[in-house]
């Protein structure tokens, strides 16, 4: 089930909220867990068992970790059980096909086709597995590190892992960030109202901006050939699509959380305002970048082991971060480029040329760089990414069919969508700041955006869900 669907907006959400508030407090987590499993199982009921398994393993591990004194060896074993089981689930369901295909391609490349494994099994990727395994692992990590205590009630823990607002598209809520709220949180009209505003603006970002931009991006990336300007327009449209889609979903998640009394941390902080790639990663998908920082970069040694090791660590983290986004080589390349770029920025420090540029120049340069790397993120494979970059550089052959794609870049509706997207990106405050003070006018504006989004949702059939690979 996706937030921007008739079923969720008009049926699931009102029903979930109504029952939630109708129940006594002690029954609310059980209801939230049930509703979340229904929400998750809607995509494929078979996946519910997997999430339940992950939940049970980490609950037991957390419980054993909490029961063992920290100086014993046993806690480490329980942490290992948690990590191995979660990473095994993630590894098998997300990376099995990728590993088999890559191994086969490698053998073919080496001329050893005869040794290729004859694997008929193709694994279906369970929705949101990257999000909930990371969340679940953070629970045992945080208990192991002594940052928090285990939950006594398994329902509370299952509620944390499966919480539908952030289950399939994030943000990744670490247990330590929400532990206290699971034990006690307030429900106020102010929170609910702000949640409604968040949800409304998030929905508008998704339906009114991300979807039309996605339509243009799809036309460009699905085309076999493009003139250079159209190729640039296509990747620009994709940059807006992924930003508004992802941040729109995050806003809706935060809004839904507020409606249920939870306060989730910020996940996007105007990333296209970034002055460098380092700055970009402080602003883009913050819940993932901080998770990788705290649970991967720091354990690897972070920047404590000298500059070279720091660069290597950055590259490793970004490569794995790329792979987290999708099991394909183009994501590895995307992560690799970001890793090298981050390492270069760190190595050059303030001596770099673009540190000396005026702020708009730095923002523009960073944006263009990010834009180029988005090609690897959006293209279906490395070869297609190469073709697209060639088209952007004007090096690709332009077939007659390319002229047809040009229509989408000149149609007033899509041009207007891109212009509004650019205006909202660089000219409007972000949802967090805008909704901090809610007046009647702002409330009406938010609801107006929601109404417009709902009408658009009903009238436009195009409503992609781009997180199925995450």
């Amino acid at each position: 089930m996706v937030f921007s669907s008739h079923l969720f907006v008009y049926y699931f959400l009102p029903a979930a909220l109504f029952v939630y508030y109708a129940l006594p407090r002690r029954a609310r987590h059980l209801w939230l867990t049930t509703a979340s499993y229904a929400f998750y199982g809607w995509a494929n009921p078979a996946f519910m068992g997997l999430m339940l398994l992950s939940t049970l393993i980490d609950y037991v591990c957390g419980w054993r970790l909490g029961a063992s004194p920290r100086d014993e060896r046993r806690p480490r074993a329980w942490l290992a059980v948690s990590l191995v089981s979660n990473l095994s689930l993630l590894g098998f369901f997300k990376y099995f096909n990728f590993a088999v295909d890559s191994y086969a391609a490698l053998l073919t490349g080496l001329g050893l086709e005869r040794l290729r494994p004859d694997v008929g099994l193709r694994v279906v990727l369970p929705l949101g597995i990257s999000f909930y395994t990371f969340q679940s692992m953070s629970y045992t990590f945080d208990i192991y590190r002594g940052r928090t205590k285990p939950l006594k009630n398994i329902v509370d823990f299952a509620c944390y892992v499966s919480l539908f607002p952030q289950l399939v598209a994030g943000p990744i809520i670490r247990f330590s960030e929400i532990a206290d709220q699971l034990r006690h949180r307030t429900h106020t009209t102010e929170k609910f109202a702000r949640g409604a505003a968040f949800f409304s603006l998030g929905m508008a970002k998704k339906v009114l901006l991300a979807n039309p931009c996605g339509f243009v991006a799809d036309a460009a990336f699905d085309a076999v050939s493009l003139p250079p300007l159209d190729a640039w327009a296509g990747v620009l449209a994709y940059a807006f699509q992924i930003y508004f889609d992802f941040s729109g979903y995050s806003d809706m998640a935060i809004g839904l959380g507020l409606m249920l009394g939870f306060v989730f941390p910020k996940n996007f902080d105007s990333p296209y305002h970034a002055e460098s790639l380092t700055d970009f990663w402080r602003r883009w998908h913050i819940s993932l970048s901080t998770w990788l920082r705290d649970y991967l970069y720091h354990p690897l040694g972070g920047n404590r082991k000298g500059p070279r090791r720091t660069y290597v660590n950055l590259a490793i983290v970004m490569l794995l971060g790329g792979l987290w986004h999708g099991a394909a080589w183009n994501f590895v390349v995307w992560g690799g480029i970001h890793g090298v770029w981050l390492a270069m920025e760190r190595a050059m420090g303030k001596r770099s040329l673009y540190r000396r540029l005026p702020r708009p120049g730095r923002v523009a340069l960073t944006f263009v760089g990010v834009l180029v790397t988005w090609v690897f993120f959006r293209a279906p494979d490395l070869a297609a990414a190469g073709r697209y970059l060639s088209a952007m550089a004007g090096l690709a052959e332009v077939r007659p069919g390319a002229a047809l794609v040009g229509h989408f870049f000149s149609e007033p509706y899509y041009v207007l969508s891109l212009v509004i997207a650019a205006f909202v990106t660089w000219g409007c405050p972000q949802t967090w700041d805008w909704s901090r003070r809610l007046t009647l006018t702002r409330g009406a504006l938010a609801l107006g955006c929601l109404a417009l989004s709902l009408v658009a949702m009903a009238s436009q059939g195009y409503n992609p869900f781009i997180y199925f690979i995450f």
Binding site: L7, R122, E177, I178, V263, S435, L438, L440
Partner: protein
């Protein structure tokens, strides 16, 4: 990377989100308005569904978990889960189709978006100057090649979780269809109808020169080339229509409809007739002269309807065309003739101007025009929605009901829209009559992603009533008789030259039903294109107990057995011959391997040949027959017993291994009685024949199979695939491989096999009326599934409670009802199990109203329950 902030993210969040500055009244108002906005829609929709019994999707959703649970016990958890996925998907589709927000807002919003911003929707692209385009058709032109392996893989992987993976490659389906038709002596011609933007891009790209027309998908030319390789004639009218545009500027497509103009269609029909005359000569018959008259027709394009603009809007007006309905003898309107020898299988491009429901007149469609230009009656089966397999599936349903529209046909013309090449599900459709799954023979060769091998098989076949040599491409072409008819003479012992350019065979006078004792005959050489035939030797013969008569030593030198029972070496260019064995054998003459080291005489002894002495040192005999050698002489192979196994022997170490066991489970269970092994000259492909269990080499249903072999390890790679399917005996195959992708074979092999669906016959008989109890219904498709069309039928099962008129054929009845008409869900969709309704039932076969519409049927197969038709329940 992010440096740790002093304030934790949770604290920051609590500070920023947990402390909102809002007055309590505003907060309450915003909360109330938000909840009201969302809940009001659900309330209104539920209220509507409660008050109006029909069309609501809720009962199906509520019943789905129970049904899924039952299926879990019956067919396993995966099946239960699949049922649940289908139910929830259908529910969500129905909910969105019935949305009151969509109903209230869509026409107005769409009008504003189209009028002010030129926006279409997910299916319609609004071009300049009133041109509308179907989005999938534009994507076909702008997208990557539809035969690109990566595209095929992505499309296969991108299917629905609850449905079998789609088959994106059109070539195997077309090749398979051609092969099945060829088994019945019917030819196939393909006509690919271009899409609108290929010829009229001006609405999208006004600056594009007409010189580049027609625009095509990058894979289109290779697709036509591959069809040519498969020996399937393909006609593409695009180039001709583009020439008309360049020369006369006449529109070839309707502005607001997906289809071609009547003039373009007539032009295509006329040129197809010329194409047929060049490529597929039809048997002569007395010409039938049809007449035509001109009729003006005004219609509203299907793309305008897909935009769902307000009723009566004038943004896109109606269009006028001049159609020419075809009249038969006696000025009767043209109708399809089931007795015609030409059948048009098509989609809505065939039905437009023919089917009045499409809104553009009748009797003037593609089949009608073809009939007019051919001067002969033509039969037609065309389905508007359901993808490229729909017409073939309809053909099968009709045949199962006793209406075999392939009977008496000489030519099938398969028409489909070019966009289906990139978006259609090219399912393989078994044309054989309805039968129980357990009796279904092995599926015929059906490569998935192009052929794993290029090359051909040649074999002896009794299918024409004489033993002749037949051939078929490994890529899947139609079987072709290679050797000419020679009354009274039987052809045997085909053996392909190492380069695959020619074949030798024996033509002899022999009884057709047994191996002759001493029958020698002409050893002939023939090119694989059927030409250049010449007799090499007048008196050659095979070895004992089998039809193997020669080995190629190299491209020029041929080893054969003479009628004198000596073995000879022949230069096929100079006709010089020398004896390889000095003395004639008393009983069993020798066939010697290409390296002149070993010899066999019908018994698999693999004796040593002494070239110096020109004699064979006979080794101990082994049980079995039909021995032969690899081209490099390193190993031999034979059948070690009746029906198998097929064994190989390393001639250096004498180690023995098995390729195919008797009743080998890697072969489809219907045909595991194996005989007649032969290896390709490169050692990478084994050919053999197998029957369902009968030994008789002359009367049994042997079919030819091939299986890839690793020439290094001699391991059999992948499961054997069947290459012939004729009931007559197909035996003694030889195989030539031009290129073999063993890895692809390995990937492809596992899906082969499994039961084919049982066909549901269409009912015939008399109408009747009854009161009946609904037992179960097939799922109704969503509008998205049948887009751009808006009507479809579903099959439901009823139990007769009271007969009101006529005589139903039984208590249990399967009836097709309209599920969608003009985009509206019909009452049957929401009728619950055990509902009672009064039904006026008529046989489905012959109901003209349903012609061209897809019938969705996912009820458990039962060939004993033919499908009837009822407009109701009312």
């Amino acid at each position: 990377m992010i440096e740790r902030a002093k304030e934790s993210r949770e604290e920051q969040a609590m500070r920023e989100a947990g402390c909102t500055r809002v007055r309590p009244g505003v907060a309450r108002a915003l909360t109330s308005a938000f909840l009201l906005l969302l809940a009001s829609v659900a309330t209104l929709e539920i209220r509507r569904d409660v008050s109006k019994e029909s069309g609501t999707p809720w009962p199906e959703l509520v019943a789905a978990p129970v049904a899924a649970w039952k299926n879990t016990f019956g067919s396993g958890a995966f099946e239960g889960n699949r049922r649940l996925l289908i139910a929830k998907n259908d529910f969500e589709d129905a909910l969105e189709e019935r949305s009151i927000v969509a109903a209230a807002a869509l026409p107005g919003v769409q009008w504003a978006l189209t009028r002010l911003l030129g926006a279409g929707n997910a299916q319609v692209v609004v071009g300049r100057k009133g041109w509308l385009y179907f989005r999938p058709a534009v994507d076909y032109l702008t997208g990557p090649g539809f035969l690109d392996p990566r595209v095929l893989d992505r499309r296969t992987a991108g299917g629905k979780a609850w449905a079998p993976p789609p088959r994106p490659n059109p070539l195997p389906a077309i090749a398979d269809f051609a092969a099945q038709l060829a088994e019945r002596g019917i030819g196939l011609v393909v006509i690919v109808t271009p899409v609108k933007a290929a010829l009229h891009p001006e609405g999208l790209a006004p600056v594009l020169s007409r010189d580049v027309l027609p625009i095509e998908n990058p894979s289109f030319a290779p697709f036509l080339d591959k069809l040519a390789d498969l020996e399937i004639p393909a006609f593409s009218p695009a180039e001709r229509l583009a020439r008309t545009i360049r020369a006369k500027s006449w529109p070839q497509f309707l502005r607001t409809d997906t289809h071609w103009t009547p003039q373009a269609m007539e032009d295509a029909a006329e040129n197809l007739v010329r194409f047929l005359a060049r490529h597929v000569p039809l048997p002569g018959r007395n010409p039938v002269f049809y007449s035509r008259r001109e009729v003006g027709v005004q219609g509203r394009g299907d793309l305008t309807k897909l935009l769902r603009l307000p009723d009566g809007e004038r943004l896109f007006g109606s269009e006028s065309v001049l159609i020419r309905p075809v009249m038969g003898p006696g000025n009767a309107p043209w109708t399809p003739d089931p007795n015609a020898d030409v059948l048009v299988l098509g989609d809505s491009f065939t039905n437009i101007y023919s089917q009045s429901e499409l809104g553009w007149g009748e009797c003037a469609g593609f089949a009608e025009q073809l009939s007019y230009f051919l001067h002969r009656p033509v039969d037609k089966v065309a389905v508007n929605a359901g993808g490229p397999a729909a017409a073939r599936e309809r053909l099968v349903s009709m045949a199962a009901g006793g209406e075999d529209r392939l009977a008496g046909k000489r030519l099938v013309i398969l028409q489909f829209s070019a966009r289906e090449l990139a978006s259609g599900d090219w399912k393989l459709v078994d044309l054989s009559p309805a039968r129980r799954a357990s009796t279904i023979a092995a599926p015929i060769r059906r490569p998935e992603h192009g052929a794993p091998a290029r090359g051909f098989v040649a074999w002896e076949s009794w299918r024409s009533g004489e033993w002749r040599i037949w051939t078929r491409r490994l890529e899947g072409s139609a079987p072709r008789q290679l050797t000419p008819d020679e009354p009274g003479l039987q052809h045997c012992c085909p053996h392909i030259s190492p380069d695959g350019s020619k074949i030798v065979y024996l033509s002899r006078s022999a009884p057709a039903g047994e191996y002759p004792e001493e029958a020698s005959g002409d050893l002939r050489l023939l090119r694989m294109d059927g030409g250049g035939e010449r007799t090499l030797v007048r008196d050659a013969r095979p070895y004992e107990w089998g039809n193997r008569a020669a080995t190629w030593r190299n491209e020029r030198k041929l080893i054969y057995i003479g009628a004198d029972k000596r073995t000879h070496l022949l230069d096929v260019d100079t006709a010089e011959s020398s004896r390889l064995t000095a003395e004639p054998e008393e009983k069993m003459p020798w066939l010697i391997d290409p390296t002149l080291r070993h010899a066999v005489n019908g018994s698999p002894a693999f004796s040593r040949y002494d070239a110096g002495e020109r004699r064979v040192v006979e080794a101990r005999r082994r049980p079995g027959c039909e021995p032969y050698f690899s081209q490099d002489g390193s190993f031999g192979f034979w059948v070690a017993g009746g029906g198998g196994p097929i064994r190989w022997i390393d001639l250096r170490t004498r180690a023995v291994g098995t390729w195919i066991e008797k009743d080998d489970r890697r072969i489809h269970d219907a045909q595991r009685y194996v005989y007649f092994p032969m290896l390709s000259r490169d050692g990478r492909m084994l050919a053999f024949s197998a029957s369902p269990g009968d030994h008789d080499h002359f009367q049994s249903n042997y079919d030819v199979f091939v299986a890839p072999v690793d020439p290094g390890s001699l391991a059999l790679l992948g499961r054997p695939l069947r290459f012939t399917a004729h009931p007559a005996s197909d035996r003694y195959p030889d195989v030539h491989v031009e290129a073999l992708d063993l890895e692809r074979w390995k990937r492809e092999a596992p899906p082969i096999g499994g039961p084919a669906p049982i066909k549901a016959p269409l009912a015939t008989g008399e109408p009747f009326e009854m009161r009946a109890v609904l037992q179960s219904c097939s799922r109704a498709p969503s509008l998205r599934e049948i887009s751009p069309y808006r009507a479809a039928l579903i099959v439901c099962e009823w139990k007769a409670a009271q007969v009101l008129f006529g005589r139903p054929p039984g208590d249990r009845l399967r009836i097709a009802h309209w599920a969608l008409r003009d985009g509206e869900r019909q009452p049957i969709v929401s009728l619950r199990q055990n509902s009672v309704a009064r039904l006026r039932v008529e046989p489905l076969s012959g109901v003209s109203q349903i012609e061209g519409y897809p019938i969705f049927n996912d009820l458990p197969a039962d060939p004993d329950l033919p499908i009837h038709y009822s407009r109701g329940p009312d």
